[in-house]
Symmetry: C2
Subunit: 219 residues, 2 copies
């Protein structure tokens, strides 16, 4: 049975999944890389910076699950970018915005971008195809499940998108990584989700790296 | 050198140190006992419900530190109660409010209650003396340190009081216990404390009970 999963979703101690003041140079705003340093230090994450090596302990074991068995991703327009949102023309970039990830994005599956400004799909190198859909969580999930076949669907973020899918009770497995910093401002993951722990088995394990892995497995 | 410490300060995953809708029957509002069940299950916490036994593992080891070497406590009016706040007369109780804890409170030291409505000190059984002071964090701490002598001062809560002392950089050791529930509403601990982790060495360890212990030790 195919699942709907969230992986490596990093938040600060005060619950922010992204910082404040997002720009083209700062996709996570004032958070910088601080929410994701734990991942960049793993064997899974090192290639993101074009490096090799990296840890192979608990942080790597969790991080690597991001890819395994995934057949499609759904992401919010906030994750796809650019930071100013709105229509796709007049964005102040030289060419049409194709995401943050260059010509060969790391997804390698169909990716459904939730937006109120639909546009034609974009086929990238390496198997990633961006589709743009003006749809709610359920409708988008139907599309993604069709595309994924018997593989799983990843809800890729940002915080508002994960929260919307949690509120709609569409997530089977949620992996949140709490980083011991206080961002003070940004977009919160947990707002409006009172009591959702009752729908999940929750496991919490701290890593020697200082982060804490929380896994929510739907009952 | 005497220290200023916070212990067993429990928050939900979404950062609330107390719930919403506090009443005489529900001192933590809709949170009920959920933030403190981990502590009630320990050998330290069992006597709170008049019971014996209890676990003696990591939760107990942390919980017990609450008492050791403490010579005075500072608490907010919100912790002392009653929930409606305001002046001390006309509270709808049969007698003058003397806190939640009965004739023999568990503090057994001087306790300084921060309030804009000062009143005469109250000497309780067992060594607890409630003093009522209309003072900011620094001034209250001077009083508490004098009372504590060479012992430490505990900042007892609630969330607003702990936050005020953190913001004023007056805390040497902070122990926060994160409980894997989402309260959704109440009073948050971390608001307005961006970047305070830079002033502390932070350690995080998860307990088999499901809670996570975070310790902040001032650099």
């Amino acid at each position: 049975m195919s699942q709907v999963r969230v992986h490596n979703f990093s938040i600060s101690l005060d619950g922010f999944g992204t910082g404040d003041g997002l720009t083209l140079d700062a996709p996570f705003g004032h958070a910088g890389r601080r929410l994701h340093e734990w991942m960049i230090a793993t064997r899974f994450g090192r290639p993101i910076l074009g490096q090799t090596g990296g840890s192979t302990g608990i942080d790597h074991a969790f991080a690597e699950r991001h890819e395994i068995g995934i057949g499609a991703e759904i992401m919010g327009r906030g994750k796809f970018g650019p930071p100013q949102g709105g229509p796709w023309t007049g964005l102040g970039t030289d060419e049409e915005w194709r995401g943050w990830w260059g010509p060969n994005p790391p997804f390698r599956t169909p990716v459904f971008v939730l937006t109120h400004h639909p546009r034609p799909s974009i086929e990238m190198e390496g198997g990633t195809v961006f589709h743009f859909v003006d749809a709610g969580p359920r409708e988008a999930l139907d599309l993604a499940k069709q595309a994924a076949g018997d593989r799983d669907v990843r809800i890729g973020g940002g915080p508002t998108t994960v929260r919307d899918f949690l509120a709609a009770d569409l997530i089977d497995a949620l992996h949140v990584v709490q980083v011991p910093i206080l961002l003070g401002r940004g977009v919160r993951l947990w707002d409006g989700l009172e009591g959702i722990e009752e729908r999940f088995d929750v496991e919490v394990v701290s890593s020697p790296s200082g982060v804490t892995h929380l896994t929510f497995t739907r009952r």
